[in-house]
Amino acid sequence: MPQVNLTVNGRSHTVEVEGRTLLVELLREKLRLTGTHVGCDTSQCGACVVHINGESVKSCTTLALQCEGAKVTTIEGLAKPDGTLHVMQEAFREYHALQCGFCTPGMVMSAIDLVQKHPEGLTERQIREGLEGNLCRCTGYHNIVKAIAAAAEVMHGKRDTLRPAEVMAAE
């Protein structure tokens, strides 16, 4: 059986896979990283989004063998070693941007890439269009959009905390 060498969340792995094995299957079945989900068969839902070399990719449409030498980051690899969550993860909690949690890992991974690609900042419209590849059935996206907007400002150093003090006081 062919082998693939790749780094996942900072750890290097050599894994035997079939030619047809998808990256998401490698992550879920071989490495037991089950935070990356499969929600559809047609690359529509984005529950499987991970980062390959820093770019968001649908791991259900990526063959494991395509990832030779790649650096893969999954939802499990976002928090710091001491458990501190990534600001995007914090923002999702702060703004109630998740309900059942199934789409959340892919949504967070897509959102981080979207923000990183737009250092100039993002409008609500751009965030909504940037989420085209991710489906959520629970939230109606309203709070996801708010969470990403807030996280974007913190990630780009435009403010220090997810909720400005005056907003928190008003709530």
Partner: protein
Amino acid sequence: MNVVTPFEGIGAAVKRKEDPRFLSGRGQYTDDLNRPGQAYAVILRSPHPHARIVSIDTSAARAMPGVVAVFTGEDLKGVGGLPCGWAVKNKDGSPMAEPPHPVLAMGKVRHVGDPVAVAIAETRAEAQDAAEAIRVEYEVLPSAGTIDGALAPGAAQIHDAAPGNVCYDWHIGDPAVADAAFARAHKVVVFETTNNRLIPNAMEPRAAIGDYDPATGEHTLITTSQNPHVIRLLMGAFVLNIPESKLRVVAPDVGGGFGSKIYHYAEEALVTWAAAQLKRPVKWTADRSESFMSDAHGRDHVTRAELALDKDGTFLGLKVSTRCNMGAYLSTFAPAVPTYLYATLLAGVYRTPVIYAEVKAVFTNTVPVDAYRGAGRPEATFLLERLVDVAAAETGIDRIELRRRNFIKADMFPYQTPVALQYDSGNYDATLDAALKAADWAGFEARRAEAAKRGKLRGIGCSTYLEACGIAPSHVVGQLGARAGLYEVANIRVHPTGSVTVFTGTHSHGQGHETTFAQLVSDRLGVPVANIDVVHGDTGKIPFGMGTYGSRSLAVGGSAMVKAMDKIIAKGKRIAAHLMEASVEDIEFDRGTFRVAGTDKTKSLTDISLAAYVPHNYPIEEIEPGLEETAFYDPKNFTYPGGCHIAEVEIDPDTGAISIVNFVAVDDVGRVINPMIVEGQVQGGVAQGIGQALLENAAYAPDGQLLSGSMMDYTMPRADDLPSVGVATHTTLCTHNPLGVKGCGEVGAIGSPPAVINAVVDALKGYGIRHVEMPATPAKIWSIIHGSRRMAAE
């Protein structure tokens, strides 16, 4: 030292306890779980809507690498069929047709997706290969993919037990009384509509793992369910003949349900049965295509309604005739949806004195239809709220004024409707007023004029809705045909050092119960939310329960918790009385502190729990040790959330594209425990309602071939399809449960579709239409605009 702890009780927007695990990829959904020695099942499904199975050849499949077993319907002959949990009677009192629903098809397949065989192998890929190698010879039969097709003379006969494909022909009310009311009418408004069929599409596809322990004889099913105890009851008693004591059903983290994960599905019985046959765990996970053709669908009604009005617009009577699609088999609660969750809601928020409704349920060669978010109430609400707008247009009475003239007023509660329900509380004028203000209804015409200057058609629409939640008093649903009680169960365990575990028979699959219920208990017992764990979804841990659907978890399950806490406090008072040498009658309890009335003598809940588990100084002759109580709560009535939704839309006449430029929801969901979660529930519900109104449609060819079989064909709402939704609540308390709560899970999906379509019709004022069917796609809108222009030109 003054320690300031933030308020976490009833009314606080506490951040969710479940979020850290979901955000870090540590959720445990069914497909994330694996058991040692597990094999994988892949199901071969019918590609035909209706066919006789001539033969099945599994020999090639059995010889494939890694194959453990291949089973067909013949192998499951000793297994019972999937039961229906609700029996509806015909007009003449005779029982509905209830044809068998085999776990794997026997002799015939009746819808695309009907399971025919299962291949089980060492890996999922090998099982897939094997399933593809099963050779089935079909004799394709004539089929009926629509209600009309199934009722047509000479239509294909789907079940021997259902002549003419009719499941039941039911009614409520007295047609003669309705006719008498109509005879006095100044005007009768007739309205016909189809409520489009929807596919729930929870983001987590269904999955199930069966396991069997030969040493204990215990079967385990891990499944994506909203109600594991119901699955245990139905599968154990009716399908596999396993006593409850030997069957554990676990529903771990579940990725959304919206109704589709209430029902007992064939795959659950299949993996449980196969695991016992093979003496090893068997796992099945649906791919999305299977979800489309095997998860129960929703809605699918065709209705004709007539509203009788007097000269000043007062409603005199309503007659409704509905035909509804059951699909190919009866799903678990399917018969109840178009009857007791639909026709009984046809009074809505209005004082219509006479209502007659008849409902004919029809079998077709399509996936079974059952409850989907709202279940019957969205169909009733859409019909009423469109009908009222049509009546307003045809009588010339302003649509807001017509609603107000017919509202049940705030001082009329309790209000008995002519269709069986008695509403306990509400204030429909107040929610309407709040919504009109929030949406700036008064300023709309200026916005319409401004949009017109930009070449856009702008419209505004409202719906004033009511629904019924918290299903329901057991003796009532029993009379109506339910084959179960609908109470809920809570067990509350105060541990020796004062932390608390709450065991609930409801199930959380996105609703945030682990937080809301902890707040509820914290508010009463004074224990910090962080020290309260809520356990759900495991028949091995929780005494019993009926699960989560119909926005019942807080109204029924939360009320059971209140009862259990009452017992904890009552016992705690007796222990406190002993410890403080006072009489029980003198002990007061408030948020974690037992006090001798009028003194500064107190004991904390932790003092009491410690004494209860370390009973050294303890009245052991009179009081048992321990501090744990169980309560069953049977609701006294449904709860009746209601409110007003307003949508404002803009249509591009060149493309027919509709954008929702503003959406306001003002809902009365009773007392709010966590406003952040309530707002999220409403926003999510509204998104599904907008999806129904503008985007979603389960499309079938006339013969029953599923056309919208993937997320490429079925339009799921995406972030850029939806607006930001303004949510507010206006509270009247439920009068018959101890929390005053009503339920918030479905209001969004119920109130929003007619608000959107009313806005679309309003925008198209001047194009000679009175209605647009859902989903109002750009193609439909473009045809209306350009058809009308063409007619004008001719």
